[in-house]
Symmetry: C2
Subunit: 84 residues, 2 copies
């Protein structure tokens, strides 16, 4: 049970951050390297889960990976309001 | 091996973000709710690791938890340059 609750928090934690960057287009304070490392790490966890046929690891890291991917793309988009 | 590499990325990913917020004091784009959820989630993973006597889970989530804690504190600090 404790692991499930922990996984829920760490899997869904980036939802507010993804919503914030989409709504505000503000990514100035965000580290692209952090989100690139998170994205790579989560992709590796998905691969690990597939090899071990571990559905929770695949599911949690796919969700969190997509969220980090959205934030990373928003960070890397060139012409955002912030730069005008 | 794959799990170790994945753990390395997701554990150390927040180092660049922690350095960036400490150097720039800029946290405007960062979601406090995201880092609060990450901090809680990682604390729960540490508790989970202690109960199961799983050193890698304890170690990885303690490191990542401290990093998220630093970023959260910087975000919640009131009088930063950004507001002047």
């Amino acid at each position: 049970m404790l692991g499930l609750v922990a996984a829920f928090f760490t899997t869904t934690a980036n939802i507010p951050q993804a919503i914030k960057v989409i709504k505000t287009s503000s990514t100035k304070s965000i580290s692209a390297l952090t989100y690139a490392m998170l994205f790579i790490g989560m992709a590796l966890w998905v691969a690990y889960g597939i090899i071990r046929n571990d559905i929770p690891i695949i599911l949690a890291n796919s969700i969190a990976g997509v969220l980090c991917g959205i934030i990373l793309v928003m960070k890397l988009l060139p012409n955002k309001k912030e730069h005008i």
